[in-house]
Amino acid sequence: MVTRRRMRGYTLMEVMVAMAVFALFLAVFFILTAEMRGWDKRLPVSMHKHPSLMAVLARLRRDVLDANSRAPYERTHDVYTSSQQVLIVESVQPNGEVHVIVWDFREPGEARRISYDVGKKREWVARGLPKDLANVEISALKTGSTSGWATRILARDGEGRIAIDQIYQPRATD
């Protein structure tokens, strides 16, 4: 029986070479992907991937910067009591008025900013923050012997790595 080349199929050698080339490509792809995933796992949740988080921090920073540097923080206000997840700060607004600002991080994935003007209450809520960034800790610290109290915002991701560590302090006034 006469068989033409197309009907004969492939030799073992041809199949082996084709599989070796394909396997080489797969190996390169998987090694590089695994390496990148390893790097990604080493790094915590990144702020630049969450613009809403950056907006929250920028606004909070401005509130602390514009705070009355002599006595910027309050223990309680309205229904709020300051804690590791609630910051109460007296902040000077661009029009010169002093507002009491409450930052509430108790709800996972949300940040609330409640501004109290005389008799008026305004609320701004940022939703869609990374859920695993729920462990926000707000603390006060001294940055110098003669300076006032600064605010430190610390947040860890789901694996306990610090993703946010920011120190803000009221502008110096003399």
């Binding site: 110098g144 790595r161 920011q166 120190i167």
Partner: protein, 130 residues
């Protein structure tokens, strides 16, 4: 034998392989570059948080104590843990009377990557305003 039954010539197969290799290599390189840049950006975000925190402290140190202050970061640098091993450095330069330039540096990736933040401190004669 008709053309459709002849299969491909060696030159045709090689040309097809060449095109496939170029497409695959380019895609893989673009993919790697993108991930590399994302990683570098994430690392910089961590480094600049540490730098900004240190700057808050350094701007409140008394002007005449800047030279004798610690030459590495005073602040908690746990945020830099994913970059380990890393190093921090603080340099104070006097370029003109009454002015000190404070340069804060974080180095990681065996010193190949670096982020710096510079502060200019002026002797106000009074409290340590920035």
């Amino acid at each position: 034998m008709r053309r459709s039954e002849r299969g491909f010539s060696l030159a045709e197969v090689l040309a097809a392989f060449l095109i496939l290799t170029i497409v695959l290599t380019t895609s893989l390189l673009a993919f790697l570059e993108r991930n590399n840049r994302l990683r570098q950006a994430s690392e910089l975000v961590l480094a600049y948080q540490a730098l900004a925190n240190e700057a808050e402290f350094r701007r409140r140190i008394e002007f005449d104590q800047l030279d004798t202050s610690k030459k590495s970061f005073i602040t908690d640098t746990e945020i830099l843990a994913p970059l380990a091993p890393y190093g921090t450095a603080v340099r104070v330069d006097h370029k003109e009377p009454g002015v000190k330039h404070v340069t804060l540096t974080v180095r990681w990736h065996e010193g190949k990557r670096e982020a710096t933040l510079a502060l200019v401190r002026v002797d106000t004669g009074g409290t340590n305003l920035w």
